[in-house]
């Protein structure tokens, strides 16, 4: 009986010992996981710091420049100006508790950052990845009306559709029912850093296409031939070549894997039931997203325009030389930013077009003397539409329309039969980071994962 009692006592003690030490292991793991998350957050801070430096670089236009010539001038703009520091921008001066890394942001308007923190746990790496999207905090007043027009030669305004909200104009005389702008110009709606974003993208593309890592004559990826899992960036060269992500038309969607940086020297096609999340895409040619492709949290820089069609959807950031068009049931989901400016060749006109039943929830900027935003009947834009020249709304704008003039296809001066509903702009709408007068940054969304 004594022995049995002793055996029970030892058993209980061993159980307590085991539980207490495994609890200690759990606590130590929680500590390391937290430090890894702090490192991922630190990497995010580094990426954000770089983006803010770009957003704070000299504006693309001087205030005297006419509003309808707001095209970016990449060649003349500094990329990043380091004036105040002589040390490396991102470093722990008192010993790093681990390692951090982050993807270089492709554009700085809606800043999507993927950063990683790594610490060692019993000699093995413990990694945490943080994804975050950041927007800006612009001054409220310029964004309060439903329609904001900047046509100095305007004399009349004929709005036959529903208008909910204030209409501000800078006509010589404000038509009845409108208010004259007191200050500012259309430039206050155009992020200053688009030019430096463009310069950064072009420089990165040129560097990538000269790299020895490049695959000649485009690339074709399928579920059977997915991207190399060991490569963080895919470089597909050949000016006439087409890079294709060819997912099946039916069955389960094909997830093309973890986020990567893709450089395509020719046209890029994303088709079938494809899923891409968190990628950064640089393309010298046209980017086509079609069928049932779902491209989310992605940054696209396209030197040949972007076409989204069928039932395809996109969210993230598009910087495009040339036309961005959505047709059929295509979607752009929030948070998103789209900017287009004059390009070369086909689809070179800086226009943003929503046709058929297309929907977009985004901050849209079309720059240049022939810039145009077109919203067809049945289509809807929720957000802010900024056109450096004309805006034609036959559908529905839920938010703010900013343009030099409104066009309705009759040659008549400033007219529209579409709906303008300012109150429908969501209160948490994500504004771009680089707007003039922006008073800081705002976290739009974030997620972490080990």
């Amino acid at each position: 009986m004594v022995l049995a009692g002793m055996a029970v006592a030892i058993g209980l003690a061993t159980l307590a010992w085991n539980r207490s030490w495994s609890r200690r292991t759990t606590s130590a793991h929680a500590d390391l996981a937290w430090q890894a998350q702090l490192l991922a957050e630190s990497g995010t801070a580094c990426a954000l710091q770089e983006a803010m430096a770009r957003a704070g670089s000299p504006p693309a236009q001087t205030p005297q420049t006419p509003p309808n010539s707001t095209a970016p001038q990449p060649a003349q703009k500094p990329i990043v100006t380091i004036r105040d520091t002589t040390d490396t921008a991102c470093v722990f001066h008192r010993g790093a508790p681990g390692e951090m890394s982050w993807d270089q942001p492709a554009g700085t308007q809606l800043l999507t950052i993927r950063a990683t923190g790594t610490v060692l746990e019993s000699g093995e790496p413990l990694e945490t990845t943080m994804r975050s999207t950041w927007g800006g905090n612009p001054p409220v007043d310029p964004f309060s009306p439903a329609i904001s027009l900047w046509d100095r030669n305007g004399t009349s305004l004929n709005l036959t559709g529903t208008v909910q909200g204030q209409v501000r104009v800078n006509f010589a005389t404000a038509p009845p029912g409108t208010i004259k702008h007191k200050t500012g110009g259309i430039d206050q709606f155009v992020p200053t850093s688009i030019a430096s974003d463009t310069a950064v993208a072009v420089a990165r593309m040129n560097e990538a296409f000269r790299s020895t890592e490049a695959s000649w004559n485009g690339c074709t990826f399928t579920p059977e031939r997915p991207p190399d899992p060991d490569k963080d960036s895919l470089i597909c060269t050949g000016e006439g070549a087409t890079t294709v992500f060819d997912a099946p038309w039916a069955g389960d969607p094909w997830d093309a894997g973890r986020s990567r940086i893709l450089f395509a020297e020719g046209r890029l096609e994303l088709r079938g039931k494809l899923r891409l999340r968190g990628w950064t895409i640089y393309s010298q040619g046209t980017v086509v997203i079609q069928d049932d492709a779902e491209v989310s949290n992605t940054s696209i820089f396209a030197a040949g325009g972007v076409r989204i069609r069928d039932r395809a959807s996109f969210s993230g950031q598009i910087l495009s030389a040339g036309t961005v068009s959505l047709t059929e049931d295509a979607r752009i989901a929030a948070p998103s930013f789209v900017a287009c400016w004059p390009g070369k060749g086909r689809d070179s006109v800086p226009q943003f077009v929503l046709s058929n039943q297309a929907r977009a929830e985004a901050y849209v900027v079309a720059l240049g003397a022939n810039a145009r935003i077109g919203i067809s009947r049945g289509a809807r834009l929720r957000g802010v539409a900024v056109s450096g020249s004309s805006l034609r709304n036959e559908g529905r704008i839920e938010g703010l329309a900013v343009s030099v003039r409104l066009d309705c296809g009759h040659g008549e001066d400033n007219c529209s039969n579409g709906s303008f509903l300012r109150d429908r702009l969501p209160v948490d709408f994500a504004f771009p980071l680089g707007l003039p007068g922006s008073s800081g940054y705002r976290l739009v969304s974030w997620s972490t994962g080990e």
């Binding site: 004594v2 022995l3 002793m6 006592a9 030892i10 003690a13 061993t14 307590a16 010992w17 539980r19 207490s20 030490w21 609890r23 200690r24 759990t26 606590s27 130590a28 929680a30 500590d31 937290w34 430090q35 702090l38 490192l39 957050e41 630190s42 995010t44 801070a45 580094c46 954000l48 710091q49 770089e50 803010m52 430096a53 957003a55 704070g56 670089s57 000299p58 990043v80 100006t81 380091i82 004036r83 105040d84 520091t85 002589t86 040390d87 490396t88 921008a89 991102c90 470093v91 722990f92 001066h93 008192r94 010993g95 790093a96 508790p97 003039p436 007068g437 922006s438 800081g440 940054y441």
Partner: protein, 139 residues
């Protein structure tokens, strides 16, 4: 039923076995207590530094300063020591001054926060965490 008392030999044998087994038993119990105590300390240290991290997040980055604050908990008297790599540290390291109003690429703010536990007259550092926080470059 045949009942009899334990013999002296049986009792002595039981005491001998008890004394032999008491050694590992005591060791296991002491180690269990230490493991639990250590785990509780790590948990408390993490909670305190998380609280300090939250305080930092609610403070403008250019207003962050070296700070010390105390907290009494079941595991003992704690002190959180926050060390911000500020302008004097930069000067001491021979790094250029940061001008907040100027445009350019600024380094983020470097913060180290340590949870220390009182041990007599000393403070034992249980855990230290470090992170960077962005600073707005101004426009």
């Amino acid at each position: 039923m045949n009942r009899r008392g334990y013999t002296l030999v049986e009792v002595l044998m039981a005491l001998v076995i008890l004394s032999i087994l008491a050694v590992p038993l005591a060791y296991i119990l002491v180690q269990s207590g230490e493991g639990s105590s250590r785990a509780r300390s790590l948990d408390d240290a993490l909670d305190l530094v998380r609280e300090d991290w939250t305080l930092c997040r609610s403070t403008r980055s250019d207003s962050l300063r070296d700070t010390t604050w105390d907290r009494r908990m079941a595991s003992g008297q704690w002190r959180v020591v926050r060390d911000v790599f500020d302008s004097s540290d930069r000067a001491a390291a021979g790094l250029a001054t940061i001008h907040a109003g100027k445009i350019g690429l600024h380094p983020p703010v470097e913060i180290a926060s340590c949870a220390t536990l009182r041990d007599g007259d000393d403070w034992d550092t249980v855990r230290c965490f470090k992170w960077l926080r962005p600073r707005w470059s101004g426009k």
